[in-house]
Each structure stands twice: as C-alpha cells, then as structure tokens.
Amino acid sequence: MSNGHMTDLRTLAPGLADPAHDAQQLFRAVLDATSRPGRIVSLPAAPAGPGTPSAAATAYLLTLADRDTPVWLADAFDRPEVRDFLRFHAGAPIVTKRAEAVFAVLASATPQPFEGFNLGSDAYPDRSATLIVEVPDLRGGPTRQWHGPGIDGRAAVAVAGLAEDFWQDWAANHTLFPCGVDIVFTARTELCALPRSVAVEV
C-alpha cells in the first residue's frame, strides 16, 4: 500500500474522540438508517474531520472503512488532507479506479454517479460498492415515494440537490437486485440510507 507520500501528521485533523465507543454508537446509528430506508438519522459523535466531506460522511467512513475496504473519492473530495485523514484514522487505501472501491464518496453533482462501480455478482452480491452521496440537504428537495423492505408502506423522502436523471439511474440499479450498489445520502451530521432493495417512484 505504498503511495509515495508521507502523511503530514503535524496538521492532521483528529479522528473519533473515543474510537471504540464512538464507533459502536455510530455503527448502531448506521444500522438503524440502513434497516429503515428513508429515515434521517443524526450522528452526534461525528468529528468535524478534514473539512470536506461532511461530518456524517466522515463518521460513516470512520465506522465502516478499514484497510480491506478501498475508498474512491470524487474530484471535490480528492484532496491531500482528506486522503491523509482516511488513511491515518481508518487505515483505508485510497483508489483512483471506481471498480476497485468498496466505498465511494460522491458529490450530488458528480457526473454518472453509478457508472463503473462494483455491482457484486450473483454468487457474491455483497461484494458491491456503497456510494456515499453528499447532498446539500436531506430535506426540502423534490418529494419521492420510497417503498421496499424496512419501509412500512411508503416513505416520502425529499433529498435535495440530485440531478434530474438520478432516479432513472437508481431504477436501473434497483432492477439488478440482488446485485447493485447501495447508497447513503449525507448532509452535515445526518444521513439517510437507500439500499438496492428499495424502489423509488420517479
């Protein structure tokens, strides 16, 4: 995992204040969010991190990423302080090819958000990527109806800042089940999960 770059630890942002307990609480919160798609979960223990991405995206990665889960960063986040932060605090390798990523951090405006990520295989659908999509707000956008496992009937979710064709792409991803990527939307210290099993009415 040589990268020809020495981490500058003199300026590194701190990670979780209490790694074991904070990670447990965060894991619980992430689990709640994933098992109840559309529910907005707040992450109080999230550290500020390196500035970008959001505290919620940072906390999600500190909770789940490690040296076995390569992380891909969209241009907006692919900066030395972000790479150093994730390498030091999560131990995660940073990759430049989408296909190698287990986690990816995207901006709401990142073009072709689904293109090239690992979808898993019929034998191992779990070997797919999880996309962390940074949005300006988890509320106040155009309302969509979500339904699927973990949702009692329908959930009205209004994620803001997504491109027009985002939901068409999502519909295509949903039809790949059991393969396909999973999504976590993040804004500030909140996140909301969209697993591949959930259908969204366009």
Partner: protein, 157 residues
Amino acid sequence: MSLSSSADAPALARRQRWLSVLAKAPAARLAALWDGLGSVPAYALLRRPETGLVMVKGRLSGSGAPFCAGEMTATRAAVRLESGEVGIGYVGGRSACHAEIAAAIDALGQRSDWRDRLEAQIVAPLEAEADARRRAIAARAAATKVDFFTVAREANS
C-alpha cells in the same frame, strides 16, 4: 515510500533504530526508564493506543515466496508535542502504555534538546540489555552444541 532528501537519511536511520529498540524492550522496563526521566513536555494523543493484529509472513523454505504464517497482536499510538513533532509507536503485544511511551520518545527524539538525553538514559541501556539477553540465550544453546561421530565418514569429508 521514503523521505526524499538524503540529508534526512541519518535522522531516519536513528528513528528506525530507536523505534525497534523501544518496541522489543520489555514494557515494564521501558516504563521504569521513562518514569526515571522526571518531567517531560506535554503531548496530545493523535491516536489513542489501539490494539490490533499484524499478519506475520514467512517464506517458502525460508527464502522463497512469502506466505501468511499467522497473526500477532500489536498496539500502536501516535502523539503530537506542543512544539509540533509527531511520534509514532508500534509494539508487539497489547500494552497501551508501551505503545504510548514509544510514540512519546519518538516525538521527543526529533527535538535536538532531548535527543542525547533519551539516547543515553533510555535507548542505549535498552539496547545493551537486549544484547545481554541475546548473549545469554546463545551461551545456553552453545553448551548443547554437539559433534556427531559417524562410523563411516561421508565421501566428501
């Protein structure tokens, strides 16, 4: 994956030697020498001591391709002095205190006002003790060295 300028090479070699001596020292002995220093500059924990695993690699027949022989426990810590120097400690085993002291000494060793004192009071004594342990093991083993006499000598001897 190394410091770029050749002027850094001696500094790097010193850190490498120190960190290895500190990691291989018995944790209690290191703690005793560290306490013996008296007051030391304050530092912040950049990474709290954390225990994990390192996969120990062997090689086929000792010299061939690497393979995974099994894991070992290890503990790491990182500290930052108020003056900015960052120290890293990686030690075998599960002693949080061992890793933290190693990191603190690594950080202080980057300051010229501390380097000689740490070398004299901690690193050099630990190195001498490690050498004495190695010699004691070798001396006991040497007492069991044998010369087998074969009745028919091999063709080439």
